[in-house]
Symmetry: C2
Subunit: 514 residues, 2 copies
């Protein structure tokens, strides 16, 4: 084991590959070249552009599916995804073994794949472990070590050739037989297909699967058919009501509402909310409420935001349509209003992990955002935060765009001081996902802690009347109420690696001792 710059002990090899330890923010320098795909020739593709084959099985066989390959899928259909399960059912039927599954995220609907992790069809997952798959992994049952990456880190890993995808299967709400595809039109509309961009550009073989095949051209093309080998039409790629919710809801919890209001007040008091500013909030209940408070402040001040980053939802769409926000730059879409707006409003623009988050590009959008509102399962006294493991030690969440967003100008984590009588502020987080130097403010219902590195914010918050406290004070208050919980117990077995945005390993997760 070696100790990395986050102070964590990590193995020198994971799945037989040498590990580059986290070296500090901006410290690791890549020295290679991007992954170079094989040069294709039009002579190998149908001249009339029709790449459609009859079944997904035929496409996978034509793409050369065999033991040990890396198969990628994407989470545009979220918990309504049907594609990943189909692929591995086919692989099982063909007797294929030892596949690496490389999803952009996994959801409870993928519990179907536990049987294939058990029987060796799938050797391991590199991607988020939401719910049942995470539990399986935390119990040490996965044959190899999981690797978790942020959305930007996934793009980086593919671009840099760290993960070579043999076959990418891209599910799309709409496609043409050439392979142009979007997430906007059709029963399985999800908004956009940005998580599949890297795969389309760099995978050896690319298959587009849709339940809404249209005559060329599929407009707009979010995925370009010029990267696609085969196209397939199936009955159903997803379960619509599980892809996007009909409605997103603001929180009704008085504590959460208080946290949301304090977050907005903090941003007003410190001058973050100003004409032409930019913000990113999520689609959780608290985040939605913060957006609404932001809107109220902007109306009161008569100002507007230059842009907001999604995932979008009906509240953000309303702000766009009201003119409070000039542009919405979206990475994903959480409800039907968001899909409609992205389809119809040219100021509602789809982005990708390349534009927004790729750390190994010539910059990305994250650093241009004035303030980002994020969650966490735990924060420690050094402002390090955890988003993947729970207080019981189980790996139950993916990283998403969370690490990438830490590069925005101000990072605020609005958090309840405790959840189920477990304090959220701890001495040391179970898993370091983000280094404290990038996390600026913790807003809880009992006070706001500002990272001492942000002297500017500490200065600006003076005289605001807001309850500014130290993070130690907040931790002590929580412990005085809840007591200090026992730490979860782990074996020595590393079950997952947590990558930083630059491909280095910032921490590992160990098997939970049951």
């Amino acid at each position: 084991m070696i100790q990395n710059a986050a102070g964590r002990f990590i193995p020198e090899f994971i799945n037989g590959e040498p590990v580059v330890p986290f070296q500090g923010v901006g410290k690791y320098r890549p020295d290679g070249r991007k992954h170079a795909p094989v040069i294709a020739t039009y002579a190998d593709y149908p001249l009339d552009g029709n790449k459609q084959v009859a079944t997904l099985k035929e496409a996978l066989v034509k793409a050369g599916l065999k033991n040990g390959m890396t198969i990628s899928t994407h989470h545009h259909f979220r918990n309504g995804d049907l594609i990943a399960n189909m692929i591995f059912d086919i692989a099982k039927g063909l007797g294929i073994k030892n596949l690496r599954w490389f999803p952009s995220a996994s959801f409870p609907c993928h519990a179907h794949l536990l049987q294939y992790l058990e029987d060796g069809t799938i050797s391991h997952i590199e991607g988020s472990m939401n719910g049942p798959l995470g539990r399986f992994c935390s119990e040490g049952k996965m044959k190899k070590t999981a690797v978790l990456r942020s959305h930007g880190g996934r793009y980086q890993a593919v671009q840099d050739g760290e993960v070579k995808i043999d076959i990418a299967v891209i599910g799309a709400a709409c496609a043409d037989p050439f392979g142009n595809a979007n997430g906007l039109n059709g029963p399985s509309a999800s908004g956009l297909l940005g998580f599949a961009l890297a795969d389309s550009q760099y995978a050896d073989k690319v298959i587009v699967v849709t339940d809404n095949m249209v005559t060329f051209p599929c407009i707009p093309w979010q995925i370009q058919g010029n990267y696609v080998d085969y196209t397939v039409e199936v009955d159903k790629v997803g379960v619509p009501e599980k892809i996007v919710s009909g409605t997103t809801q603001i929180t009704k919890s008085p504590d959460r509402l208080l946290i949301a209001e304090m977050t907005a007040q903090f941003c007003e008091a410190t001058g973050i909310i100003k004409d032409g500013f930019s913000f990113q909030a999520g689609a959780g209940g608290t985040s939605l409420s913060i957006g609404i408070f932001f809107g109220e402040i902007m109306r009161k001040k008569g100002i507007k935001a230059r842009f907001a980053r999604g995932g979008s939802n009906k509240y953000l769409v309303k702000m766009l349509e009201e003119g409070l926000v000039e542009y919405v730059l979206d990475g994903q879409t959480f409800d039907l209003e968001g899909v409609r707006s992205m389809r119809d409003n040219p100021n509602h623009v789809w982005t990708s992990p390349f534009t927004s988050y790729n750390y190994h590009g010539k910059g990305n959008f994250a650093g241009m955002v004035d303030v980002v509102i994020l969650g966490a399962t735990e924060v420690d006294l050094n402002f390090n935060a955890n988003v993947v493991t729970h207080s019981d030690g189980y790996l139950l969440h993916g990283i998403g765009g969370w690490q990438n967003c830490l590069f925005s100008k101000t990072v605020i984590l609005p958090l309840p001081l405790f959840r189920d009588r477990i304090p959220v502020i701890v001495d040391e987080v179970t898993t370091v996902c983000g280094p404290g130097e990038l996390i600026d403010v913790i807003v809880t219902e009992r006070g706001i802690a500002i990272n001492p590195l942000r002297k500017d914010l500490i200065e600006k918050a003076k005289g605001s009347g807001l309850p500014i406290r130290t993070i130690q004070e907040l931790k002590e208050e929580a412990e005085s109420i809840c007591g200090k919980p026992e730490k979860p117990q782990f074996t020595d077995k590393v079950i997952a690696a947590i990558k930083w945005v630059d491909g280095t390993v910032i921490d590992v997760v160990r098997q939970v001792k049951q």
Copy 2:
């Protein structure tokens, strides 16, 4: 010298690089990998995304401009371009020598650069030679050999690493300091920036220059800032009235009108014009007229086209707005109406040489077009055609997308039987740009010749009442009127290579004997 599959004698080396001779359509198989750019890191770029520097000179110096580099520019501003001249004025001022200029096309406005070809600032040009630069080249005055490629071939060459660009300078009508850019908004609006796509993706350093710098985000982004190193604002990137014409005009020549009408009649008689068909015509007077005749036929039949390919113009925009055409997929824009439509109409979509023409992709759009209308300077008895040299042997034109379009389902060349009393149909073309097997129909004012390979079209044209003749008959008729002109005389010196779409050399051009 070696003889290639087009029967042409070509040197084994050009500019010191080994030549791959043309091997027949679809015969050459690339066996390498795409060019792999160096992996960048956000740590080297401003965190706030502001990459703006004060002057183009500063940007070029920061990008490491030095002797022998390859500098690319693009022809979005056509004959109104100011950028290329600025770059080489700066290079001259810095005493830099021996640059390879790699424009997507050059125009008469670039005659300013003749002095730098003379004094060694520029060693040679790889790109089209329109007008004065072509004449200079044809007279054997350029220090090295020119290399001409189609739009798709240029993308292919950059993608495949055949041409490594050190510094790409992308002029844009609109950009933000991060480098997102489009050709839609601002005084130098040109419609789109697709010709710079390969350069942005593969060049070592990328500079975006605009006269209309806007606050992030520049929407839409046709060029993605994540590929860009530096941005610059200058007073003027182009001369608007020379970028797009205020109006495009249909031909008034009775002969040209007759050719246009016969072309449309041929397409009707042979069933090419049918519901859901697709077509591509240019913006020359005859092509515009053909589009208008197509529209009349479609109205009469009550049918519409699924898509048309541009370069677009007010007539095509009218068809789109009338609903005769569902989508316009545009590679460039020839007038202000085209720019407006592309900006405002979501069914008017910008494309790039990657989507439309790259032969080393997984297919491209060209083969999906039912009928394409192209020009030529000469055609021979085997239907081989020439678009780069004139009857006097001078290299005066670029290839443009011409070679790429030959892959469409039916290729028609509407041509006058003679120009200035020089017959257009010859025994053997001066320069082979496109192999006869891909050219289907020649329409002249005195008859229509169908390539004997297209038995289906010959059959369908029977009984149409159209004057179907053999190409020999047309040639003999022209010669009976004009006589047989003397062939131009050349020295042995090769002054330019003509690449086929796959990077092989299909022909060379020799110095004109003066």
